[in-house]
Structures are given as structure tokens and as C-alpha cells.
């Protein structure tokens, strides 16, 4: 088994500081606290001095700890369908149980927000999720109602979303009790852009053979790209990680020993099965070298010289916001860049917006790329929707198929 990344011990410290600062702000009111959807307008919030919490990250922690299924039934009983987002139901269920994944950091409860800020570019569920807490705690839930299913992004789209970003400023200023400082916003965007570039460089080390990084490691390493976007802490961490991975590349240290095949993972992780899946792929000497998911926190369009329009554009350029044609172009480019031997689509039961196997795309890509494609049924957090035996057999059979073709 390959040695774990040494940077990970630093990652634990970085995240601990982040969560404790949030907790402290919420308890002492030393800074305003905002909850933000994972690809929401975080730069605006940081520039206004908010400490920012990402409930999707919290749900992922519940999933990875395999406690999500214990909690989500409480939200189902409240009227949230088992077919609705299991991130939402895990998080709300944990709240109803008076528990949190932050307990591992010695924190008793999630930080209560002064405002909840969403962007529906990823799904409607983030709004439904934030509306629950808005009712519960009587705090405002505001945000951006995005276009969705875009093939080409036109200037009209960007202008409309930029205007929505601008309209958030006044209420956010009122809650924070301070005015938005333009140089502050520009600096936050600069850091966000730099961090995004570093994260891209980290992921692109996996274009090498053998890959020094697997999807399963990347899902852990991506935490700063999500929760510390727009901060120097994220940039500093990724400089450290990038150096370690570049060293692995130069020494040809593989994430999966004896790498035979390279796979692309399309769709959400199955958080509660990361280890089992990682071990399975390792035993098959197959590396999942790239994923849409980990690449979804790359924001090339951010530009400190044009903050609002560039925030708008970057929120619209994301894979999840795009139409099938744009997604297929993206996947074709990624398959080539990472030299993959096959693509795996995770059909995530409760996350239709992040499941791209439902409208014939796997078949079209199989034809277009000439690569084998596999679909696996599962869920991001609800393990009742995942058949381990069937999935393992299917993946193993897929790798047998790759071996047969060589």
C-alpha cells in the first residue's frame, strides 16, 4: 500500500483552526457568521468579514463517518422525502438529534449563522436546506437564483447573475455592520483565484503515469478548496501539498502500486464507502485519476479587476450548471488530458443534479470516446441506496473487461 500523503497531518491542523475560529465567532459574536452553499458567493462574504460555514462539508463529514444514515431518518420523518438530498436530510437530522460531526474537533454544535447564503447553480436543494434553518432560527436566507442547464454562457447570463451578486451586498452589509471595501474584495478574489490555480495544479499531478494522487485521496485533500476558498491558509496548504505531489511525480511514487488502468469518476463520492472503494481499486491496480467532483472547485474566471462579473461567470462555468453538450465536451477533454482507460458514472440516488447517467450520456460518450463506461448505483450519503456486493462485482468486472481489451 502506498504511503499516505505527509501533508495530511498539516491539513488536520488547518481544518481544526478553521472550525474553532468559526465556533468562537458564533459563540462570542466576535465576527458575523454566514452559512454558504459550497459554490456560493463566498468571496463576497469573506470580504465583509464573515466567518463562513459550509453545511455541505458538514454533511460530507457525517457521510464519511458513516453516521449519516443514523440521522437522516429524523428529517424523513419531518416530511423530507428519502428521495430528496441526503446531504440535506443528514445535516437536518443531525441538528434534530443535537449532534454534529464537529464533535471530533471538540465542538458541541454547528455555528449558528447570522445569515444563510445560497446559490442555486448546483441545485434547488441548497435553498430548501437553508430555508429550513431560516425558519428554525429566524435568520435570513438570501442568495442567487441561477440559470441552469447552460450550453454556452452568454453575456446576458453573466450580467444577470452579476446583478444578483451586487444586490446581495446591501443586506449582507447590514447584517455584518460594515461596508464592503473594494480592495478587500479584490484581495479575496486574488486569493481565491490563486488557491483555485494551486488546487488545479494539485489535481493535474495525476496526469502523470503513474498517478501520485487518487480520487479517494483528493476527496480528503479538497477540504481547503471548499471551506477556505479566498484565504491565504488554503493557498499555503496547497503549496505544501503540491510540492509533496511533485516530489512523488519525480520519484514515480504511485498512489496505486503497479498502476495498470486509469479511471475517471463522474458524479458524487460515496462518502461512507471511500475506504472500501479505494481498497478495491488498489487491489485491482487501477487508479481513479480524475473526477468531475474534485475539479468542481476550480474557478478560472475569477478576476480581481472585475469582481462581480467574474464571480458570476465562475458560478456559471461550473460543470453542474451546464447542459449535456457542454458536459460531454468537458468529459472528453478530461478523458484525454488524464489518459483514462474508462469512465465510471455514479448514479447518485438523491442527487439528480450531480448524476449524469440519466439522459443517455454514458452511451453517447462510449461511442464518442471509444472508451468503456460503467454506471454504478449508489448515493452520496444514504448507504441504503448502495449495494456493495453488486457494485464491487460490477467494478471488478469492468476492470476485467479493461484487462481483456489489452
Amino acid at each position: 500500500m502506498t504511503t499516505p500523503l505527509a501533508s495530511t497531518s498539516r491539513l488536520k491542523d488547518v481544518l481544526s483552526v478553521y472550525f474553532h475560529e468559526l465556533d468562537d465567532a458564533a459563540r462570542t459574536h466576535s465576527a458575523p457568521v454566514a452559512w454558504c452553499s459550497s459554490v456560493g458567493p463566498v468571496e463576497l462574504l469573506r470580504a465583509l468579514g464573515y466567518r463562513v460555514f459550509f453545511p455541505e462539508n458538514h454533511s460530507a463529514m457525517l457521510g464519511a463517518a458513516r453516521t449519516a444514515n443514523h440521522y437522516m431518518t429524523r428529517a424523513h420523518a419531518l416530511g423530507y422525502s428519502p428521495d430528496s438530498c441526503s446531504y440535506l436530510s443528514s445535516d437536518v437530522g443531525a441538528y434534530l438529534s443535537g449532534e454534529t460531526a464537529l464533535a471530533r474537533y471538540g465542538i458541541a454544535e454547528v455555528p449558528h449563522p447570522d445569515v444563510l447564503v445560497f446559490n442555486t447553480n448546483q441545485c434547488r436543494d441548497v435553498r430548501d436546506w437553508f430555508d429550513y434553518y431560516a425558519r428554525e432560527w429566524d435568520v435570513p436566507a438570501i442568495g442567487i437564483t441561477s440559470f441552469r442547464c447552460l450550453d454556452r454562457i452568454e453575456q446576458d447570463h453573466v450580467d444577470a447573475i452579476a446583478l444578483q451578486h451586487e444586490r446581495l451586498v446591501a443586506p449582507l452589509e447590514a447584517i455584518a455592520g460594515r461596508r464592503l471595501d473594494a480592495p478587500n474584495l479584490e484581495e479575496t478574489l486574488r486569493l481565491s483565484r490563486e488557491g483555485s490555480g494551486l488546487w488545479r495544479a494539485v489535481l493535474e499531478t495525476a496526469t502523470h503515469r503513474p498517478s501520485p494522487l487518487s480520487f479517494f485521496e483528493a476527496t480528503i485533500q479538497m477540504a481547503p478548496a471548499v471551506v477556505l476558498r479566498g484565504t491565504e491558509e488554503a493557498c499555503a496548504y496547497y503549496r505544501l501539498l503540491l510540492a509533496e505531489l511533485q516530489d512523488r511525480v519525480s520519484r514515480k511514487v504511485a498512489a496505486v502500486s503497479g498502476e495498470r488502468f486509469r479511471i475517471y469518476w463522474e458524479g458524487m463520492p460515496i462518502w461512507g464507502k471511500l475506504r472500501a472503494l479505494s481498497e478495491l481499486f488498489e487491489s485491482l491496480r487501477t487508479c481513479v485519476v480524475a473526477s468531475t467532483y474534485c475539479n468542481s472547485w476550480i474557478f478560472d474566471a475569477l478576476d480581481p479587476a472585475d469582481p462581480f462579473r467574474s464571480m458570476a461567470r465562475s458560478s456559471l462555468e461550473l460543470f453542474i450548471v451546464r447542459a449535456e453538450q457542454a458536459k460531454e465536451r468537458y468529459l472528453e477533454q478530461m478523458a484525454g488530458q488524464y489518459q483514462v482507460d474508462g469512465l465510471l458514472f455514479h448514479d447518485c440516488r438523491t442527487c439528480p443534479n450531480n448524476s449524469n447517467s440519466r439522459y443517455g450520456m454514458p452511451g453517447r460518450l462510449r461511442e464518442r470516446l471509444g472508451l468503456p463506461v460503467l454506471s454504478v448505483d449508489g448515493d452520496v450519503n444514504d448507504l441504503r441506496c448502495y449495494s456493495e456486493e453488486q457494485s464491487m462485482t460490477s467494478i471488478e468486472g469492468f476492470v476485467e473487461q479493461l484487462a481483456e481489451a489489452f
Binding site: 487491489s283 462510449r366 468503456p372 463506461v373 460503467l374 454506471s375 448505483d377 441506496c385 448502495y386 449495494s387 456486493e389 453488486q390 462485482t393 460490477s394 471488478e396 468486472g397 469492468f398 476485467e400 473487461q401 481483456e404 481489451a405
Partner: protein, 284 residues
């Protein structure tokens, strides 16, 4: 599902095979039944067995192995044994393993050449495996996490109709009215069935509708754009499924010999093939 399958011998004499031939055994540890097949170097089936898997996969594989070896007249401790099926990791006696996807494809390929779609309907899973002209697997699909379209569905329907599942086919053959069961879900179908019984629908018509439902579920799994070879316990024991598949596809489908044991047969072939290839195929 019948608990045990009648013995099968491949040498046409009814007598166990003899001679210096090397023997290979495949064990398919399935969710419902465990199958074992003994072959010689030519791929001829010398003996086979089907036993219930129940909760003891190791015990079931030992029983299947013993019965198949006895029927083949082969000492299994001198044979090379490979495993397949969901329980393949539990079969410690096996020196190698392959997925059911590989073994069903491999087994079918032994009998039928060319581009094919292998449709396997087992107790708790259904799969479609596509092979190209050269016999290489190009794709596979498995049923969603649901019993509809598998043997378990027929068990549930037989239970609701109060007949042994082995009699379901005979019951359905006496149908007079074509009915449809529209639900995706086995539980919902059972409820739908109760509604139909209340309306006075005949059990024979409902049994036929259940078979049609299975066929609909499996046909929606993939495009059957090439010749279809059907395997699995449902195919072996429910000829009405084969007839309905033929009718729905508008062309004949091929049912190879010993369709229920095709996975085990494929595992035995994999053992044979590995013996003549490199040792890397063996379980690591």
C-alpha cells in the same frame, strides 16, 4: 427455485469420466443457489450440481463441489478449482476467481460465437453483458437495487398466488386474458396483485402477467441490438420467460446447455484457460 438440480454427465454414458485428463471445477456462489461444474480440458461438462446457498456459503460450495465431483467421477482434490458469484471470496478452496460477468460471458462464448448480448436472470440479480465479434466484453449492466426482473420476484408472486414457484409456469400456461402488472417495485406489484384478485382476475392470468413483468424489466435494462443468449436459473426453470422474450424481441433467443450453471461453467473454463496462460490470473 428447485433446491437441487438433476445430475448431469457429459460423456453420454451416464458413467463417470475416467482417464488421465486434467479436470477443472467452477463454483458459482450465488445469492440463492450455489452451482458447481466439473469439466475436462476440452470444456466438456462431466458433472454438475445446484444446491441452496442459504446462510452458509462455504458449506453450500462444499456440498455442490462434492456432488458435482461425485457425478463426474472426479476426485476434486486433484482438480483446479476457481470460483465466481457474489460469494466467491468465501470459497477458500478455490485457487482463482472471476466475476460472474466474466464467467457468464466466457461460458456462453464457449457455445456461441460472434457479437452477443448475454442476458442472465438469477435469483436476485439480472445482468446484460455485451460481447463484440471477437467475444470481448464491451459493456455490462446489472439490475438496480430491486428484486423486480429477477427470480425473487417470481418467488414473491408464487407466494401471493399460493402455488409453489415450480408450478407457476404450469399455472400461467392456462391463461385466458392478457393482463399487465405496471409497478416497478416487487412490493407494489404484490399490492397490485391483491387488487386484481379482488376484482376477480384469474390466478393463471396473473401468473402470466408476472412473467410478462419480468420480461419488461429486463428488456428495459439495455438495447438488445445483437443476438441474445439467455442464462440463469429463471431461464432454466421458467420456459415462459424464454417464450415471452422471444415474442418481445421478435426473434429467437439462444438458450445454451446448462443455463443455470453457466457461471460455474465459465469459472471452470477460466481455471482451464489460466492453466494454459500466465499465472497472473490466479487470485492474488
Amino acid at each position: 427455485m428447485p433446491p437441487e438440480k438433476a445430475p448431469e454427465t457429459g460423456n453420454g454414458t451416464g458413467m463417470p469420466a475416467r482417464g488421465p485428463t486434467k479436470h477443472f471445477v467452477g463454483i458459482d456462489s450465488g445469492s440463492w443457489t450455489t452451482k458447481a461444474v466439473v469439466i475436462d480440458e476440452t470444456g466438456t461438462v462431466l458433472g454438475s450440481a445446484v444446491v441452496q446457498s442459504a446462510a452458509d456459503l462455504t458449506g453450500a460450495s462444499a456440498r455442490a463441489l462434492e456432488q458435482a465431483a461425485s457425478r463426474a467421477g472426479v476426485a476434486f482434490d486433484e482438480a483446479t478449482i476457481w470460483a465466481t458469484g457474489f460469494g466467491r471470496a468465501s470459497i477458500e478452496i478455490a485457487s482463482g476467481s472471476r466475476t460472474g460477468l466474466d464467467c457468464h460471458a466466457r461460458g456462453v462464448r464457449h457455445y456461441v460465437r460472434g457479437a452477443l448480448a448475454v442476458l442472465d436472470i438469477g435469483g436476485q440479480d439480472a445482468k446484460v453483458i455485451k460481447l463484440d465479434e471477437q467475444g470481448h466484453r464491451v459493456s455490462h449492466k446489472m439490475n438496480r437495487k430491486c428484486a423486480a426482473g429477477t427470480g425473487s420476484f417470481l418467488d414473491e408472486i408464487a407466494l401471493r398466488l399460493g402455488v409453489p414457484v415450480s408450478d407457476l409456469g404450469d399455472l400461467a400456461s392456462g391463461y385466458r386474458e392478457e393482463l399487465e402488472l405496471g409497478s416497478f417495485c416487487t412490493v407494489f406489484t404484490a399490492t397490485e396483485l391483491l387488487g386484481a384478485i379482488r376484482q376477480g382476475k384469474r390466478p393463471a392470468d396473473l401468473a402470466r402477467a408476472a412473467y410478462k413483468s419480468i420480461v419488461k424489466r429486463v428488456l428495459e435494462m439495455a438495447q438488445f441490438d445483437r443476438p441474445v443468449v439467455a442464462t440463469g436459473g429463471v431461464i432454466a426453470h421458467h420456459p415462459m420467460v424464454v417464450a415471452l422474450l422471444t415474442e418481445a424481441l421478435g426473434r429467437d433467443i439462444v438458450v445454451p446447455p446448462h443455463p443455470q450453471e453457466m457461471g460455474a461453467f465459465g469459472a471452470a473454463l477460466a481455471a482451464r484457460d489460466a492453466a494454459s496462460e500466465s499465472p497472473q490470473h490466479a487470485r492474488g
